[in-house]
């Protein structure tokens, strides 16, 4: 992961994190938004424009790639770089969580 990608995506937006997480299995935009709503019990809702913008940007930056097209809908899947970013983010959030519980890591 180069510095540019790290600067843009670590830390990343909440929507971005959920989208990347969901793309560990190939999906289209609307499918992702439904899964995120279910995962978060409706706390996180990603709208159409936000979803489209995030997918386009992540595809351009190589975090996800086009997987297939089903009924005019594009399905995407996470790439190796995307997985690297996702695990860096997960580690960061895990640290935040543990620190927030008063835990010291050192």
């Amino acid at each position: 992961m180069d510095d540019k990608i790290r600067r843009i995506y670590v830390p990343m937006t909440e929507s971005g994190f959920y989208i990347l997480y969901c793309l560990q299995t190939p999906q289209h935009g609307y499918g992702i938004s439904q899964q995120v709503r279910k995962m978060t019990a409706g706390a996180v809702n990603i709208s159409a424009g936000t979803m489209y913008g995030a997918l386009s940007k992540m595809e351009k930056d190589g975090l996800i790639k086009f997987h297939s097209e089903v009924e005019k809908r594009k399905l995407y899947k996470i790439t190796e770089l995307g997985e690297e970013v996702l695990s860096a983010e997960t580690a960061r959030i895990d640290r935040l969580y543990r620190n927030s519980k008063g835990e010291y890591l050192g």
Binding site: S15, G29, N45, T50, Y52
Partner: protein
């Protein structure tokens, strides 16, 4: 029954335009056609609370975007000067975000930035490179004769229009963008 309405919205007034279209629909007038720069055709309908949203996209409309937006429950009405018009009945939006095209501040601010980059900047460039130099030439009295007078009046009006538009849109777009900052 249809009716045509002429109303001008600047590039910074899209939120007002959304509210106006919603208001019209609640009074039994739904928009069927938008023609540049400011002509709206409405058709009489059952009064209903319908959410209207505008999206600014300077690139040609991507098919996959239209597909995605319709998956999310929006009806695409049409496009005009880079703006895409969408609507959905208010009762189909279960959450606040479902009534929006953009659900986080980053993507809302991104659209404003896009408007500034592709609409506001050309306006400023034309102003600086053409309107302003000509305005100074007029002040210097370089345009003479009857045509010179017509030209002078025209450029003065243009000058006022540009100053107004740049100040109005500049301040307003900045205000909208600041609202989306943390």
């Amino acid at each position: 029954m249809t009716k045509k309405v002429t109303r001008f919205f600047t590039i910074a007034d899209y939120l007002e335009e959304e509210n106006w279209l919603r208001e019209m629909h609640s009074q039994g007038w739904k928009i069927v056609k938008i023609k540049a720069p400011c002509f709206y055709t409405f058709e009489s309908c059952e009064p209903e609370d319908v959410i209207y949203r505008l999206d600014f996209r300077n690139t040609e409309k991507p098919e996959d975007y239209l597909q995605m937006v319709s998956d999310f429950g929006w009806e695409h009405i049409g496009d005009c000067l880079g703006w895409m018009y969408f609507r959905r009945p208010a009762d189909t939006a279960a959450s606040e975000e479902e009534g929006e095209l953009f659900s986080d501040n980053e993507s809302k601010a991104e659209m404003v930035k896009n408007i500034v980059r592709t609409r506001m900047m050309p306006l400023v460039v034309i102003f600086l490179c053409s309107v302003l130099p000509n305005f100074f030439r007029i002040l210097n009295g370089e345009y003479v004769g009857p045509w010179g007078a017509v030209f002078s009046v025209l450029f003065c009006l243009l000058f006022i229009l540009y100053v107004y538009l740049i100040i109005h849109c500049g301040i307003k777009l900045k205000k909208i963008k600041d609202r989306y900052k943390d």
